[in-house]
């Protein structure tokens, strides 16, 4: 029989997966009209107490194991080859703290907890909170964790888009604990087993830093057809340290460094904004998929970047197309 147990209840040299030996006939065993929606192939859930133990378990059988954070993606997307879940509830720190260096967000913090944290609510003029309010629904934000959102790296992820423009650092464990810039972390995602994310750190930004976010979707709840974000320090109308990223292209969000370079030390006039928006539309790595065409995504990119920069510049009456 399979069972859920914690590592401190079981010897660490115990078999990782206990054979169930009964076949997956649970649906036939049940009476009534409701077919279960659970994962019938999961036979064991283990609860390690440390990141190193979690990593050892994950790498001992990569094809048959998955990390379990909030669990939404585990429920929705776990392949049937996976038989063991490594529950990170004892490993993942929950909570948000702020110090001189910036904001540190434990990987086990839910998106709702982050949204409601005082430090995060006002981060970069409320930009982070604006993004989080657009992620799925409260029902899912109450479960989804920051670590899970960062680890799953869905192309349409609003969280990853925000991480990129906020110069986030991802604290990971893959045998050693280290910190990796988000842009680098997502560029190097070809590893067999993605590192365990322990925290996300957002470096402190000048008080003048502001951000803007645009998401295009068929409904407020649906994943976006495209999303984009800009963060910059705008002092006396001049733009500094701009970060511009576009996601759901349909690839994973990426920064547009050419647009960032174009904006550096420029006055955010209507003409500059229009030029930056056109540049973004031209260079974005847009492609067709079932949700939208490449052409439409290029148009959305131009509109979205224009709206974001207009908002940063504080130009009235230009927000809506």
């Amino acid at each position: 029989m399979s069972e859920t147990r914690t590592l401190d209840e079981a010897p660490t040299d115990a078999p990782l997966v206990s054979a169930r030996g009964e076949g997956n006939n649970r649906r036939e065993e049940r009476e009534g009209d409701v077919e279960d929606v659970g994962l019938h192939h999961i036979q064991l859930i283990v609860r390690p107490s440390t990141a190193s133990e979690a990593w050892r378990l994950r790498t001992s059988d990569p094809g048959a194991t998955r990390f379990l954070g909030g669990g939404i993606d585990v429920v929705l997307y776990t392949p049937e080859t996976v038989t063991t879940l490594i529950d990170l509830s004892r490993v993942a720190r929950v909570g948000v703290s702020e110090d001189r260096r910036g904001l540190s967000i434990g990987a086990g913090t839910t998106l709702s907890e982050l949204l409601e944290a005082r430090e995060a609510g006002s981060w970069v003029g409320g930009f982070l909170a604006d993004v989080l309010r657009c992620v799925a629904s409260p029902l899912q934000r109450n479960v989804a964790t920051v670590g899970g959102a960062a680890a799953r790296a869905h192309p349409w992820s609003d969280v990853i888009l925000a991480m990129l423009v906020l110069d986030a650092e991802v604290e990971v464990y893959d045998g050693v604990a280290r910190s990796v810039p988000a842009a680098e972390f997502y560029a190097a995602r070809a590893q067999d087993v993605a590192p365990l994310i322990t925290a996300v750190r957002l470096p402190a930004r000048p008080a003048s830093a502001r951000g803007a976010f645009e998401k295009f979707g068929r409904t407020g709840f649906d994943v976006g057809l495209l999303n984009c974000a800009c963060v910059a320090n705008v002092v006396r109308g001049l733009c500094g340290g701009a970060r511009v990223a576009v996601g759901g292209t349909p690839g994973l969000a990426r920064r547009l460094s050419d647009v960032e370079g174009f904006l550096e030390a420029k006055r955010l006039s209507r003409e500059t904004i229009a030029e930056a928006a056109m540049l973004a539309a031209r260079i974005v790595d847009a492609r067709d998929d079932r949700r939208a065409s490449e052409t439409y995504r290029r148009t959305l990119t131009g509109v979205g970047i224009r709206r974001c920069l207009t908002q940063l510049a504080g130009i009235e009456g230009e927000g809506a197309l």
Partner: protein
């Protein structure tokens, strides 16, 4: 099978569950059929329950992750024969048609009003954005939640 300890509607329960069961599977199997199974993918909100005070899609939470947690289902909201003010308001405002989405909608409203006694219409819309109604639209539900908020404030002030 594994043993799972939950507090459901104030009652401590020790339940048997499979490691891959969702909270929805376990609750319905135990007879809490007010927790509706709709999409099974977190899109409709029919399976909404409160997990440690926060509204969640029970279809997206593995039961094992709820170990030791406190669960509130629609069955636990009324006080005996006395309906909760949110339930009363849904009836009074006609915010029910087929009723399949209603338990989830009511519990999302409960989560909201537990933390925000004076929500704006926008905040109400946001709170129920994960609960789909295919019968009526949302006007009456929003009005019902506004009515419930007023009544709950009045009760507290008395």
């Amino acid at each position: 099978m594994m043993s799972l300890e939950l507090t459901i509607n104030g009652e401590r329960r020790a339940l048997a569950a499979h490691p891959g069961d969702t909270l929805l599977d376990v609750l319905r199997r135990e007879g809490y059929v007010g927790v509706k199974k709709g999409c099974g993918s977190g899109d409709c909100g029919a399976c909404t329950v409160l997990l440690n005070g926060r509204a969640v899609n029970a279809c997206l939470v593995l039961a094992a992750r709820a170990e030791g947690a406190s669960i509130l289902t629609i069955e636990g909201l009324a006080d005996g024969d006395r309906l909760h003010p949110i339930q009363e308001a849904f009836l009074d405002e006609g915010a029910v048609q087929c009723g399949y989405c209603t338990p989830g909608m009511v519990l999302s409203a409960y989560d909201l009003l537990s933390r925000n006694a004076t929500p704006s219409e926008g905040e109400i819309r946001e709170a129920i954005s994960g609960n789909l109604c295919r019968c009526t639209g949302y006007v009456k539900q929003i009005r019902a939640i506004q009515t419930a908020a007023e009544r709950m404030r009045s009760e507290r002030d008395e």
